[in-house]
Amino acid sequence: MIEVSRLSKRYNGNHGIRDVSLTIGKGAITSFIGPNGAGKSTLLSVISRLLPMDEGTVRIGGMDVSKSDSRELAKVVSILKQSNHLNVKLTVGELVEFGRFPHSAGRLNAEDRRQVDEAIRYMELEELRGKHLDNLSGGQRQRAFIAMVLAQDTEYILLDEPLNNLDLKHSVQMMKVLRRLTDELGKTIVLVLHDINFAAAYSDSIVALKDGRVARHGAADEMIDPAVLQGIYDIDIPVHELGGRKVCVYFR
């Protein structure tokens, strides 16, 4: 369980997020949605200790994020941001091996290698394993980074816009992989998503943010509602029922 209580973060006087309190359930996919500048990425960064908080507390699986040992936290929670530019030249395999650093501190044992192989197989990267990241497409790189996070083998996985750079096919594959991780391995996954239809189709619950506050938090089904969405995005978003699924049509 991730418990966020009265969390605030300011940038040069402006509020990134203010007074956010939130409980994210275990073994489920939770998506953060909301307009640009609503504080989705900021909230994710503060939860994952990438940004220090100004006020409030975050507890992940009972560990206080601002007080716990960083290495112990790294065995419990992993975070992947949306821009992943590297200044070093790495192969896919080498990148994924970095995921084992919290467990092995750089010296891989048999168990570490097994986890690396498994993560690479899970993301279908076997053929690209020896390739340098610079030579991959955006989508392939994205999958390689997700594989690193999988190799880290944490109970909680936080992803900032994991569908960035991915085409339709790979977006669907990515969401299916994440779904499998929760259903089969019981992982708790928190995502920032821009496409509310993806959020609707794969999440268990959705947190809507607006102006740095939680506008609404509920099960995916109840959040995909014209009135709720209107309140979040300030535009009309008709919701249609298609094949038993709710689909938002916001294109025009």
């Binding site: 990438l50 940004l51 590297l86 200044n87 070093v88 970095f98 650093f101 501190a105 750089g106 880290q152």
Partner: protein, 316 residues
């Protein structure tokens, strides 16, 4: 070729150069030649290691392969100190001053300055502290350079010659006592910061990945910056400003080894610096018969390499 074989090859070249340097044109007067040359080799090994390691660590921390630790402003401070002594007390004071005292003063002033910078650094919280430090370092560095330039303008030409001599690194008159002192300081620094070095590979991925992978980023990066400053101070106080060498050998090492692993890059960089320094020193002594200084040769070669890198990066 595997990393180990490349390292072995570099080690062989370095040792061969050392052997050549020790024995060339000795004319049989070994008791005189060997200890003097051994002292130079020791100074070269010490400075080469200090500059190489500090440069690689600094570049990893800043995630930038064309920076050198001279950005912190330590070199300019050293030059300012030398200029100020000549300006205020005259060149005879500088040349007659006890070498130990001179080394002590230089080291204390540089480490003291680094201490003040880090005091600032530790007061600031959150991300971007490294860039803040660089900014302060650049400003202080330019300030020190301007003041020493101003003093040089007012100097008597003869006095200026003495200062100019100090502007270039030289291994020609290294003092034995100082060498031992500097070696002890460098070893102590490496020992004290050794456990932070294992984080370097992860730090190269950048702050966010490092934090995600459980590196206590703020503490480790600050400690490593202190380490860098110590190494630069020791080597600069020993032979003069020579950080450009670090840039040169670090980039040659990255290219040659083609790996990100610091357990390979750090020894490779050090070995390449030995080759560059001993080779350069041989050229200075045997080809130019001491009519030029080692830094001039290194800066010439390094400058050409730097331009080459710029042009190449520009094209890709």
């Amino acid at each position: 070729m595997s990393d180990k074989r490349k390292l072995l090859l570099l080690a062989i070249v370095a040792i061969a150069l050392i052997a050549l340097f020790m024995t060339i044109e000795a004319n049989g007067i070994w008791e005189y030649v060997l200890p003097r040359r051994a002292k130079k080799i020791a100074a070269i090994v010490l400075t080469g290691t200090a500059i190489s390691v500090s440069t690689v660590v600094f570049q990893t921390l800043t995630n930038n392969k064309i920076l050198t630790p001279s950005l912190i402003g330590l070199d300019s401070l050293y030059l300012l100190l030398q200029t100020a002594i000549v300006f205020l007390f005259g060149s005879t004071t500088l040349t007659a001053m006890n070498k130990n005292v001179q080394f002590g003063i230089s080291t204390i002033v540089m480490v003291g300055f680094a201490g003040i910078l880090y005091k600032l650094l530790f007061m600031r919280k959150g991300s971007g502290t490294i860039y803040f430090l660089l900014l302060v370092g650049i400003i202080c560095g330019s300030f020190f350079s301007s003041i020493s330039e101003f003093m040089k303008m007012l100097l008597d030409p003869n006095e200026f010659m003495v200062v100019q001599d100090k502007m270039f690194a030289s291994f020609n008159n290294v003092n034995g006592d100082i060498l031992i002192l500097a070696a002890l300081a460098a070893l102590a620094a490496i020992g004290f910061f050794y456990r932070d070095l294992k984080f370097l590979d992860v730090l190269a991925l950048g702050r966010e990945h490092a934090v995600n992978l459980g590196v206590p980023y703020d503490r480790v990066s600050k400690r490593l910056l202190v380490f860098t400053a110590l190494m630069v101070s020791v080597s600069t106080a020993l032979v003069g400003p020579i950080t450009f060498l670090g840039f040169l050998v670090a980039n040659v090492a990255y290219r040659l080894m083609g790996t990100f692993k610091h357990s390979v890059v750090l020894p490779a960089t050090s070995l390449i610096s030995f080759v560059a320094l001993i080779g350069g020193q041989l050229i200075v002594e045997r080809v130019f018969t001491f009519s030029t200084s080692l830094s001039v040769i290194l800066n010439f070669a390094g400058g050409i390499y730097f331009l080459y890198l710029l042009l190449k990066e520009n094209r890709s």
